[in-house]
Amino acid sequence: MAAARSGFSIFAIGDSAVLAEFGTSLDLDVNSRVQRLAQAVRAKDVPWIYDIVPALGSLALHFDPVRLPAGLDPVSAIEDLLQDCLRSGLRTPRGSVPSVEIPVCYDAEFGPDLAEAAGLLKLSVEAIVRRHVASVHRVLMMGFAPGQPYIGGLDAKLALPRRATPRTRVAAGSIAIANAQTAVYPFEISGGWNVIGRTPLRVFDVTREPAALFAPGMQVRFVAITRAEFERRCTR
């Protein structure tokens, strides 16, 4: 591991990736920097780097060691690349931040963990919904499954740990909360977060451009809808 000059540590993870870590606890400013740095690196279009993956507080660059220019140490080459991007200054998004409204039906059937969450949080189900739709949230990263956002900005009163036993099947479109974040499940998968509702929107659709409904940095507002409205808007 090399301690870097300006606020990040950098090291190899395996033989085909390098990780730059900017923070070890969730910090929204650090997260915003990581996401913008990823865009700056992408714009450099380095031929031997094929995947640039920003997360909450770190950034991974995946490469093919066989294609590395001879004699090049990928850790120091990537450190130089990141320093270069940081020195040039990271672009702040111009104009208004992209935002999206996500309709959510918070019916008990779609939010199987609502009642238990209400008990743990000592709030009514209505109060949980009220607080979830009141805050302005922000997409911090995309990860785990195609199109899945990790969304920050959860009302502090809704902070819950993950479920002790993950659910083996969580429906596509499920809205789930844990660790001060909200996730939206793009497909039916297993998951350990607390499911409080469901959106009728398609979170990831390879026939659409862009395929992903969410993108890092995007502002998100959740809007409560009725069951009838959910059925009407459901395109699945």
């Binding site: 993870i13 793009p186 390879v206």
Partner: protein
């Protein structure tokens, strides 16, 4: 013109269309996918004169039964299967020209877990986000985003029958058998496990030092068994309990092919081709890229040990592996170009 097709009579245990993977979209959470044993996949494609990026069928433990409606040049590489055409054994690791109407029965594996059946011109399915690889959990890529089923029809390159015959005619030392023709030569199976337990090179992961001394010793010292609930996403390993000291929860961060996660519930998981792009579990090790194909040839129940190696040694192993493959592929290509 009549479409050139391949009919699935019996699907096998889990047969999917795979190429070398969906790269460049991990920032959207898009899982890389691709052949679990990329070496065998590359070899099968080279044997039928395809480029490295052509899509082939990945057969898992029990292969499919396929009806070739037109003549086709095929190659089966990777695991050793009980495979027959009209009762005669299919020669593996070499090009085989099947006559129109040939039924290829791929049964159980005799050694290894995954076989790759390449067909001249490749399996024609639409590319999704730059790849033809199947990703079953999200139902995209490959054939309708799923494993093959009985009754499926796969489309082949329209030029495949003519191309197959033309390519085969250029090969040296060919032999004709009942219902098919092949070569007297073959390539070696580079990724087949030998013996009952394999050795897999691995580097210390970035949270390695957070595990206690006994756990660190056990990780590289003891044997691990691949559990039944292992799949293309990850291999779960049963073995010694690993204890991470004190350190609290980790922020979700990017993961890699070959990352070995050790969550606090005692499980140990090696991330494979369909691995999630990010995760919050401690990383005790990273499997050397050169040994991922070998690992992917071990079925549940198989045993392995981790052999410690440096990042530099792992990259050198990968470069050497590619040089060996390139030499073999070039010698095949020389015949096809002659």
């Amino acid at each position: 013109m009549h479409a050139v097709t391949l009919r699935v009579l019996r699907p096998g245990l889990h047969t999917t269309v795979q190429d070398l993977g969906r790269h460049g979209s991990q920032h959207l959470g898009v899982v890389p996918c691709g052949a679990m044993d990329a070496v065998a996949h590359r070899m099968a494609n080279a044997l039928v004169g395809n480029g490295a990026d052509a899509a082939a069928l990945e057969c898992t433990v029990i292969g499919p039964e396929l009806l070739f409606e037109q003549a086709a040049l095929v190659a089966l590489c990777g695991a050793a299967f009980e495979a027959t055409i009209a009762g005669a054994a299919l020669p593996q690791n070499r090009p085989v020209l099947l006559a129109a109407g040939a039924r290829l029965r791929i049964g159980r594996t005799l050694r290894g877990a995954r076989g790759y059946l390449a067909v001249t011109g490749g399996i024609c399915v639409p590319a999704v986000l730059g790849s033809r690889s199947t990703y079953v959990p999200a139902a995209f890529g490959g054939l309708e985003g799923r494993a093959l089923r009985a009754g499926d029809t796969l489309t082949l390159d329209a030029a495949a029958p003519a191309l197959s015959a033309a390519r085969f005619s250029r090969l040296e030392n060919t032999r004709t058998a009942a219902g098919f023709a092949s070569t007297a030569w073959q390539v070696s199976a580079m990724t087949l496990p030998r013996g009952d337990s394999i050795s897999v090179r691995a580097m210390e992961g970035r949270h390695y030092a957070q595990f206690d001394a006994a756990s660190r010793r056990a990780f590289f010292g003891e044997s691990w068994r691949i559990s039944q609930d292992s799949n293309r996403m990850g291999y779960r390993l049963a073995g010694p309990a690993l204890v991470r000291r004190g350190a609290g929860d980790l922020l979700s961060e990017p993961t890699c092919l070959g990352t070995v996660q050790a969550p606090s519930d005692g499980s140990v998981i090696v991330l494979m081709a369909d691995h999630q792009t990010t995760g919050g579990y401690p990383k005790i090790a990273e499997v050397a890229g050169a040994d991922v194909p070998l690992l992917s040839q071990v079925a549940p129940g198989g045993m392995l040990r981790f052999e410690r190696c440096s990042v530099e040694a792992a990259r050198e192993a990968l470069r050497r592996q590619h040089a060996t493959i390139d030499t073999i592929v070039n010698s095949i290509n020389l015949q096809y170009r002659s």
